[in-house]
Subunit: 245 residues, 2 copies
Amino acid sequence: MTNKRNALLPSLREACSNCSLKELCLPIGLSDTEMALLDDVIRQGHKLKRGDYLFRSGDAFKSLFAVRTGFFKTSVSSQDGREQVTGFHMSGELMGLDGIADSVYGCDAMALEDSEVCELPFGRMESLGREIPSLQHHFFRLMSREIVHDQGLMLLLGNMKAEERLAAFLLNLSQRLAYRGFAANDFILRMSREQIGSFLGLKLETVSRTLSKFHQQGWISVDHKHIQLLAVSELKALISPCAHS
Amino acid sequence: MTNKRNALLPSLREACSNCSLKELCLPIGLSDTEMALLDDVIRQGHKLKRGDYLFRSGDAFKSLFAVRTGFFKTSVSSQDGREQVTGFHMSGELMGLDGIADSVYGCDAMALEDSEVCELPFGRMESLGREIPSLQHHFFRLMSREIVHDQGLMLLLGNMKAEERLAAFLLNLSQRLAYRGFAANDFILRMSREQIGSFLGLKLETVSRTLSKFHQQGWISVDHKHIQLLAVSELKALISPCAHS
DNA sequence: CGGGTCTTTGAAGATAGTCAATTTAGGTGG
DNA sequence: CCACCTAAATTGACTATCTTCAAAGACCCG
């Protein structure tokens, strides 16, 4: 991985101030000065190939990472080897927040396709937060959002049936893709059935069967990793039986 | 709830600097000056009766709360009314971190016995964090710890069988009680079987049956809410089959 | 002491898991 | 470019686990 960065002539492409994702990553309303401080701290251009680990559980924590392009999964494992996928991460999303607690990453982060990330050295971000209150607040909000998100997953894992979990999963993916300007109802799954299963607390066979069931109902089209949502309202009805739309 | 506080003569009992829980709540190594600043911001003496809500999902978020005495549960609910208990909280533990994201609490927090909490107005804590770096770092660590904790729960909910969940639950309770100077192997459950079930993604009958099974095996003693752990190593073996001790 | 809640326990049923066989896809190298 | 090979996915049959439904018993608070 060559270091293309040049302190005197930073490429325009390689700066937060110029990044198309900054609305996703950063608090709105930073001044030019503040943005320049950020550009100075954040390191861009880390490239990973499919299957590469960005970090592993137990690695020394120094930085957070934001997905610039590509797709990641994070997962935790028990002593006896059982793996739980804790999340899938696409552009603009942050990974590594679990590492702050003990200065050691608490999960594995793996690229599911060739990807690029920005590195946010946490110590320097923390200092910067003291100078830029809105940045500090932004980080608290990001971490809080992660907690809220995890609570939603616990609800899913603790209370929902296989069909409900799959529907929630597909709708969540759809929504996040749409928010990034991709088609909401026609996408390629970046992960295997097994990884979906691990995320949803199901076995891969159950994932496959449930997708087939949705397909037979005409609610979605499944062509291997290519998914089309054909009846979004039916899927939504699965999750919250009352609220029709 | 009467306000016993007096700015000129703050009771010694009612101050972080004098609190027996400060090692649990606060970063170590605060100077007297810094401690005084904290004492000025943190409001103590909120009392709740069993069954009272500290906050409800959707309430405007202004403060975090630390348990001083008593016992709480937090829970989230889906639109159609399914409840997932997301945690049980005892002295020194913080609640409300999920509220930062959207300035609205994301869960309900309810006292399971008569309790007392300290209120940490978040805005003022945030400012104080900018002046006391170790305090800022402490808050990041607290939030990160919550994320790590939630990941562990996802592993439990996604991968474990009923017996493993119960064993993990009992051992976790035991450990936290021991850390606070209570008996590790002899305690009273503050929550109902249904609440345990909701937390562990099980039905109350399954919780009851599994406790009975442990009892029959001689691993624990169950007398309603009074639990004694008789064979901790057996319970540990349930969770991580490899690691004997 | 009494009503209501919580708990225990049993029996039957449903959901998802396990095991296994087959098909398909995608990557590699001739 | 094609053939092969491995990994992933689908599907079926069977089983285990947990849930549901039901009834009886125990406790606690007023």
